[in-house]
């Protein structure tokens, strides 16, 4: 059974705005019965203000497809066309309190139906450039189509490169066999099409043991950098400030709490909390700090205090 949020369940069991909108100004049809989900979005637009005054949906699909469709209508009613165009699938997922990675495509379908309905209202043709495949990496929700496109576009030939470009395989790493399969198939196709030299193509077989990167912990501080306590703390502060944006991009954050000698106390917040990669995040923060400050430091996560 999927782990649906209470809000997904509520929007599935009690969907809002389901049904047919008579005299719709714009209709967007996406999906197909063969794919197992399809959505028709109907919108009513107030022409002078360019505001979406009403929206209805009809959906053939699973629980999260119906919930995503209903959430979409709630999100766009009252918005202007331009505001609605800025809506992303992540907005739909966030509105629902998150979706299982296997079900994120339901929110993508919602976003596409909206774009199709607006295009239809404007009298334009909407072209879909989205294709999806089986979900390979469950940690980061990366599907086969995404891996294939990235491999082709960037001429990738190793698992490590795929992880660097798409994150796939960077979490629990149990999907390595799946990634290898896609890489081998796509590389072989690229060789056949003359896009890749045969000797560069990936072949599954003997895979080197993963070598854990040596921790960058220096035992000796460079002599030139004798820092005062204040200077050290400032440097730590600055370095953490540089790191934070990349954590925030993933929905997490890191806050400096205190410095006790060589112990740097930090608090991970947001998506970092409970993330099975938080250990790696701490290690990364520590490596950056040691490099910047030039003295051995130990980064210690402290739990949130209330």
């Amino acid at each position: 059974m999927w782990e649906y949020s209470e809000k997904v369940k509520d929007y599935f069991f009690n969907p809002k705005n389901s049904g047919i909108l008579e005299d719709a100004d714009g209709v967007g049809d996406v999906g197909a019965i063969s794919c197992g989900d399809a959505l028709r979005l109907m919108i009513k637009v107030d022409a002078p203000s360019q505001t979406i005054t009403d929206a209805r949906f009809q959906t053939f699909g699973c629980g999260s497809a119906i919930a995503s469709s209903s959430a979409l209508t709630e999100l766009i009613i009252g918005k202007t066309i331009d505001e609605a165009m800025g809506l992303t699938n992540q907005d739909i997922a966030d509105f629902l309190g998150g979706l299982p990675p296997e079900k994120m495509h339901c929110s993508v379908m919602g976003q596409e139906a909206l774009q199709a309905a607006i295009a239809n209202y404007r009298g334009e043709a909407w072209v879909d450039d989205h294709e999806e495949g089986a979900l390979i990496c469950k940690c980061f929700g990366v599907d086969e189509g995404m891996i294939e496109r990235t491999v082709r576009t960037n001429g990738l030939t190793s698992i490590e490169e795929i992880t660097n470009y798409t994150k796939a395989g960077g979490g629990c790493s149990t999907c390595a066999e799946g990634i290898e399969g896609v890489l081998e198939r796509v590389n072989a196709a690229m060789v056949a099409e003359g896009l890749l030299a045969a000797d560069r193509a990936f072949h599954a077989g003997v895979v080197p043991l993963p070598v854990k990167a040596r921790k960058v912990v220096r035992t000796e501080a460079p002599a030139a950098r004798a820092l005062s306590n204040l200077q050290k703390i400032r440097l730590i502060e600055e370095t953490i400030a540089q790191i934070r944006p990349s954590l925030q991009r993933d929905g997490g954050d890191c806050e400096l709490i205190d410095v006790e000698g060589n112990r740097v106390l930090v608090r991970l917040t947001g998506a970092c909390v409970g993330c099975h990669l938080s250990g790696a995040t701490i290690e990364g923060v520590q490596a950056r700090l040691v490099e910047a400050v030039g003295v051995p430091l130990l980064v210690v996560p402290v739990s949130a205090m209330h």
Binding site: G19, D29, V30, V127
Partner: protein, 402 residues
């Protein structure tokens, strides 16, 4: 839900019979010895295992007790059978199987093919799920190491003529294995009167515990163990015997044998009543599989223009448990490979629901489902863009991509 839940997903797993649990319990704490040990602790366990093996051999109609090799489950038994045959059959390196097998077989043979360890023939089925006998006969050759074809399909209940298939395999000098995980305990089986060489079964499908299964290996068939180590199971499956589970499976086998007639009569009647009632109450629905030859407990009904997971979620809210071959319940993008192999149209394959009974179900379960289903189906159809336009939905619904 205040009312008792209705469990109609017995092909997924069954409730362990309380009598089975009672039989198992002493072997955790009182008779905990290692069956291989010389002392009294071990000897008592050894005796109980002998008795349990006899009970399971009887349920299968095996000629000898030692034809039973206990495994960790049906999947391990399938792997053992197929991998062993590829080792013992000399130069023969081909495997024949069907398009509707369980992943325990299909994923394995796909991997064997990919890694160059076997050539695989997948035999198609017709619209009712029946094996293409002509294609099967053609695929058999002096290169065939083993044929592995299920006794009964888990999704539709369709039965395969394994006795005949086994004889045909022997005609080509090939071994014959059947994944009988869904058949054992539901239909009478008498292996000694057949040409079947190996058969897989799983404890938890017949009210036994999970984590135990068995591979029947006909006397004289050479076996190469999948798991090597100690001498347990006469050297055919190493690892300390899972005594409580083996004894539980023995009890489950005794109970299944005692209830075999009931399965063919009372349970079948419940299934038939549910099926007829649903088809009468709900239009645009049909039964998938071979209605003339299938398990007595299984019915798979496709409800057109709606999606299975949504149906199951609404059923679950009414306290009714069943399962679906829809893509969305499995996390894949394709509906059930079984229904696709049968060419069930996509309009219906996504909305196929499997109801599977056991001897623990009663007429009140059927009544509950017959009452709950029509409004659930109507509600989802009302929401579906395909329903109202079902006669011309391809023309009216014009998605930008298809």
């Amino acid at each position: 839900m205040s009312a008792q839940p209705v469990y109609l997903d017995n092909n997924a797993t069954t409730r362990t019979d309380p009598a089975v649990v009672t039989a198992m319990l002493p072997f955790f704490t009182e008779q905990f010895g290692n069956a291989s040990s010389m002392h009294a602790f071990g000897a008592e366990v050894g005796g109980a295992i002998t008795h349990a093996r006899r009970a399971l051999a009887d349920l299968l109609g095996a000629a000898f007790d030692h034809e039973i090799v206990y495994t960790g489950g049906g999947t391990e038994a399938d792997s053992t059978a197929i991998l062993s045959a590829l080792e013992t059959q000399g130069q023969r390196n081909e495997v024949i199987t069907s398009a509707v097998e369980h992943p325990a077989v299909l994923s394995l043979v796909a991997h064997l093919e990919k890694t160059g360890r076997a050539r695989v023939h997948i035999i198609p089925v017709d619209a009712r799920g029946r094996l293409d006998m002509e294609a099967y006969a053609k695929a058999l050759s002096e290169r065939t190491a083993i044929v592995s074809i299920m006794w009964a399909n888990n999704e539709t209940g369709t039965l395969f003529p394994v006795e005949r298939l086994a004889e045909m395999a022997h005609g080509a000098g090939a071994l014959f294995h059947t994944d009988a995980v869904q058949a054992v305990g539901k239909i009478p089986i008498d292996l000694k009167s057949t040409a079947i060489d190996m058969l897989s079964l799983s404890g938890h499908k017949l009210h036994g515990p999970k984590g135990i299964g068995a591979l029947y290996v006909r006397k004289g068939v050479r076996l190469r163990p999948l798991i090597r180590g100690g001498h347990q199971e006469r050297g055919r499956r190493a690892g300390t015997e899972n005594a409580p589970a083996i004894i539980g499976l023995g009890k489950a086998a005794e109970l299944a044998a005692a209830h075999m007639a009931e399965e063919q009569t009372r349970v079948k009647a419940l299934r038939d009543r549910l099926e007829a009632g649903l088809l009468a109450a709900i239009g645009n629905s049909f039964v998938t599989g071979d209605v003339e030859s299938r398990l007595p407990n299984t019915c798979n009904i496709a409800f057109e223009y709606i999606e299975g997971e949504a149906i199951l979620l609404l059923m679950n809210r009414e306290g009714i448990a069943a399962s679906s071959g829809s893509a969305c319940t499995s996390g894949s993008l394709e509906p059930s490979h079984v229904l696709r192999a049968m060419n069930v149209p996509y309009t219906a394959a996504h909305g196929a629901i499997r109801f599977s009974f056991s001897r623990e179900n009663g007429p009140e379960d059927v009544a509950r489902v017959l009452e709950a289903m029509p409004p659930i189906i109507a509600r989802l159809r009302e929401m579906s863009p395909f329903w109202r336009e079902r006669d011309q939905h391809t023309a009216a619904f014009n998605p930008t991509y298809a």
